[in-house]
């Protein structure tokens, strides 16, 4: 075991159970256990832990060097063809990114920019011609590269990008240009200092015709680091975190680029000067291009959740050591985690970390499966994108909240940079924003749900639609996402028995499903009804915006719970299974407790049962508290990576 958290047993601790932590770890690692263990062992602390006290310049330099060193032993190459330097399956690239987030998030994001975004754009949007010339230099970090999507005026709304890529048939070149100040590319990783090349997204113009957004490779700095002619690189400077990543701006003044540098897998001008694309519709073409980049969102969601696991490991390890206030029966002081309020701060968050871990594993598997379809199944691709968007949003929200709770749970000690917590807090903050603002992403999820809905109910009267029974809606519209027979069996059992305790899994699942079904159904009815009443379309959707966000969250809650159930089913060890079951209870009941107003408003639970939720959460906290050490062992953060002086661990970097 490389995971070994050393703690002093507290008053109520029944003593260590060596195998339980290992069993939890194996279960939570799931299908990627071997690769995760291999990576934990391989990433040496001195290579991947950054000194948080570095200046911005030193942090950037360290991060570049560390990334190059990792590339030297083949890190960052999963998911690409071996003939261009690739190694291992696509899924492993996500696994590696997530674990790097447990070491240093600057290094992880620099890798994400270089391998995932820059390399990924070449791989996914380019052809063999580009792969042969640019991919190895990208993977081996010989050419630091940028992903030039976001513009000053267009963050969430990338279809409105203003940068132009105009074909000049006279010279067979493209002219890349920033026509306005708001067309300036900004917050671009690697643009601030190290980038040599950039994949630049802009509106392709050929003759009089606009072909929508395409991507083109543009050299931005020469070998000495000077701006290329017509290119102006700027530096976004100091940020709220991720100090090792050099974000910057890119502005183009009629920059001429050879025709061949357009990443033209989905369209471009041929040697004959004629534009051709395998996809006729410009909008559909752009979304297809974006779709190939879905891995980024899968990575960011998983990375944020991993950062939360690290903070939970630090704060929980502290909470089983630290004592405060003597009390009758506790002459040496009460151990922090023996306080109910402290348990409620940390243990439901640990349960949620497990829940998201199972959901994320399933998402990574789905990413790999859909990639094998090679874009052949558009519905599967859209579902994957919605799932990735939703899990990115809820995991990054969870991470921000959980890391802050951990910081506060360690009091003054947690505010010292040497605690390790403040750096995690600062770095993970922007995970709520980049690779898609969470509010926008949740609306994407809601639209996907409504799309399903529309497909299933075309032509149906909205009134009838609203009145349709939960049962028929459930089958046709809101699929059970885990698609596991276990879930159906559980729900059926709940209906048969009456499910008289809140710990009945079938009851929990059916409550989650019912909320999703009802909220989505009402949303569809509401939007239809608003459209019929003649209100402007924007005003109508805007009035329901909070409803849309709620629908997306209700859907994601259900997806996550069903993944947890599937994860428990897959666990072979009864003792581990028992603990996972209690963690799943704690996750499910915490969500139901937080959302109980919704159920009460609709008479779906009685006031008595609502109060029982709070009691059950408290009881489960008490039951799981003695297992705290094992629970954090299962979260999979190597002790040597914690970088937390207050735990007495040496900082290894």
């Amino acid at each position: 075991m490389s995971i070994d958290v050393d703690t002093r047993p507290s008053d109520t601790d029944p003593g260590p159970r060596d195998d339980l932590g290992a069993g939890l770890l194996a279960a939570l690692d799931g299908p990627f256990h071997d690769e995760r263990q291999r990576t934990r062992a391989e990433l040496r602390p001195e290579e991947v832990l950054r000194d948080p006290l570095q200046s911005v310049d030193d942090a950037r330099e360290w991060t570049l060097r560390a990334l190059q060193a990792l590339a030297g032993h083949e890190f960052g190459r999963a998911g690409t063809d071996p003939q261009y330097g690739g190694r291992g399956p696509l899924a492993h690239s996500v696994v590696h990114f997530e674990l790097l987030c447990a070491a240093d998030m600057s290094l992880a994001i620099k890798s994400g920019v270089q391998h995932g975004l820059y390399g990924g754009a070449i791989w996914n949007l380019g052809t063999a011609w580009h792969h042969e010339r640019f991919l190895a230099d990208a993977l081996e970090v010989r050419t630091p590269g940028c992903f030039g999507m976001t513009e000053q005026g267009h963050g969430s709304d990338v279809s409105g990008l203003e940068t132009t890529i105009t074909y000049d048939e006279r010279t067979a070149e493209y002219v890349v240009h920033s026509p306005t100040p708001t067309a300036t590319k900004t917050y671009i990783g690697n643009a601030g200092a190290h980038g040599r090349m950039a994949v630049v997204f802009g509106q392709l113009i050929v003759g009089p015709k606009l072909h929508g957004i395409h991507a083109i490779l543009v050299p931005i700095r020469d070998a000495d680091g000077a701006d290329m002619p017509g290119v102006t690189c700027g530096d976004n400077g100091h940020k709220g975190g991720l100090l090792g990543v050099d974000n910057g701006t890119l502005t183009f003044d009629h920059v001429r680029v050879p025709r061949e540098l357009l990443l033209d897998r989905y369209g471009g001008v041929g040697a004959d000067g004629v534009y051709r694309s395998p996809i006729d519709n410009a909008n559909r073409r752009f979304f297809t291009m974006l779709g190939t980049l879905v891995r980024g969102r899968v990575c960011i969601g998983g990375g944020a959740a991993t950062a939360a696991r690290k903070a939970l490991t630090i704060a929980t390890t502290y909470a089983v050591r630290r004592r405060q206030f003597v009390a009758p029966g506790h002459p040496e002081g009460v151990v922090l985690l023996d306080y109910l309020a402290h348990q409620r701060r940390l243990l439901p968050a640990i349960a949620t970390a497990y829940a998201y871990g199972f959901a994320q594993n399933r998402l990574i598997e789905r990413l790999a499966e859909v990639a094998l379809l090679e874009g052949g199944d558009e519905r599967a691709q859209r579902e994957l994108e919605a799932r990735a968007a939703g899990l990115k949003a809820v995991q990054s929200r969870f991470a921000n909240d959980a890391v802050q709770a951990c910081r506060e749970a360690c009091g003054g000690a947690g505010y010292m940079t040497e605690s390790g917590l403040t750096t995690i807090r600062q770095d993970v903050d922007v995970f709520a924003t980049f690779e898609g603002d969470n509010t926008v992403l949740l609306q994407l999820v809601a639209k996907q749900l409504l799309g399903d809905y529309k497909q299933a109910w075309v032509g149906l009267d909205p009134v009838k639609l609203v009145q349709a029974s939960a049962k028929s809606l459930g089958g046709a519209v809101v699929d059970r996402t885990a698609n596991l027979p276990g879930v159906d069996r559980l729900v059926a059992a709940a209906q048969g028995t009456g499910a008289d305790t809140v710990e009945h899994r079938g009851w929990q699942v059916s409550m989650f499903e019912e909320r999703e079904r009802h909220v989505v159904g009402r949303l569809a009815a509401r939007l239809r009804s608003a459209a019929r009443s003649g209100e402007a379309a924007f005003a109508a959707t805007n009035k329901a915006q909070d409803h849309m966000l709620y629908a997306a969250r209700a859907h994601m809650d259900k997806v996550v719970l069903e993944s947890f159930v599937a994860g428990i089913e897959a666990c072979p060890d009864p003792a581990v299974k028992d603990v996972l079951g209690r963690l799943c209870d704690l996750y499910a009941l915490s969500v139901l407790e937080a959302e109980r107003a919704w159920y009460l408003e609709r008479g779906r639970i009685s006031p008595q049962r609502a109060k029982a939720l709070t009691q059950a959460v408290n009881r489960l906290c008490g039951e799981l508290r003695p297992l705290a050490d094992d629970l954090v062992t299962g979260l999979g953060i190597p002790t040597a990576w914690l970088q937390s002086a207050m735990l007495g661990a040496k900082m290894e970097a």
Copy 2:
């Protein structure tokens, strides 16, 4: 008007109303309007705004110099007798601290340490002998001083401090000593670099007798900055924020200090070698000493809320300028604040900022009133302490959440340090922890509520107690804190009419009152019942810890709403009064919406009314949105202090 927020009017903006913002500002400034306006004009940006990119060393140096410069023109002297350099009333010291938090929180905290804690301890715990010798140097920052309370092993539980202050009658000296590693003073402001003197808290031992915690002045560094013999000063180093404050550690190895340096207003050894104190009970003596330092908590709560106001001003100003996504009727893109989800992120938080502002004004007035009683009214003093603790906890919680929401509401731009938001976020974080951990403070509030309860119901059977009617409980136990006839009238009106809309103020107030009354009543019954069943006292209180925290929050919600009502009553301008009324609705209904599960569980509101809360919050957001500019003008942050490049404002420092 020194407050002047320059924004581009958005699509739905009816245009500027110059007087409304000024009227809101005057109302929210309340009794301190003149002093606040004077201070806003007097604190020049170049004196109080720090460059957030400074290194830790530069930040500390700048902060010390800035504090000395402020002291040079009499800042930081309110509340002390003019004969020792004091200027102006006690209340103004809080007003000044709050406004400094809108400029630079490092500077504010350094002032809080120097003037409030170090100077305040000399003033409150010392005698004329100490005032004459040490106070002017403290106020004028000639002697940077520390407040040595917190120890490594004793953060929240300060009554367990281990440092010893042992009287040596042979030499008429005290010996200050750190007997264990956990006795090390830590996180002490000014200890890291600048401090020359420290007020050190420790257990006073005279002969065989322990007299409990006392405070003594100890020189810690000589004129050249070298540690005094026996004193070891350490540096806590880099923190999650407040980089301009030099927190550090202090360890004492049998340090000898003349007898006169004990701050002996509440007890000490006389020239005859005999210990005397005006307060016999050691515990009571310590809490009396702590009570004199209540101003610190009043400052921290108000300072946190002021930081939130600054972030809300930045994010709202951005949200009325920034556009994203074109939509039908919005060809240039929809202004961010026209989105319902964005309104819900910012406008209820602005309403809450107003609510806390009124409550804080009342607390400052109370602080000044109770100070005039000179400790003569112990009940008034305890109530003040509980109010200060509660408002510190809820305001710092609000600030952390609101500032994070503001950061996220500005997307990638909000993560750049030049936005001004990340520095506020990092600095305000620890406000949840210092001057009392929020969880501990809320329990203090709950205990105070239970204390009241006990007093009112001594001898009553707990079963009868629970069954007692809400009416009689309301009068005797949970006082209407604002004590304004307006509130009684409103509640009476609600009972008379049936209050059929959720905007009926009387209904809102009665709902807040009922929740507090019921939660506190049940808590009292539960603790009595648990005590009777023979469970260990700790286990019983611990089981109810979440209930205690909830009771404290319910109480504070009510206190805040009643202060808001009083603030509206005091406003002479009908147009301003109307807007304040809608802000108060938004605050009250946001709280009721968030807490609606509690009311539903107890049948206190119908499902229909619960849903009406959400609809009303959305409607109020729409009504207040066109007034966004005026609402932030009323928050009182000078435009020149915003330091936010994304607003196009020049950074003045």
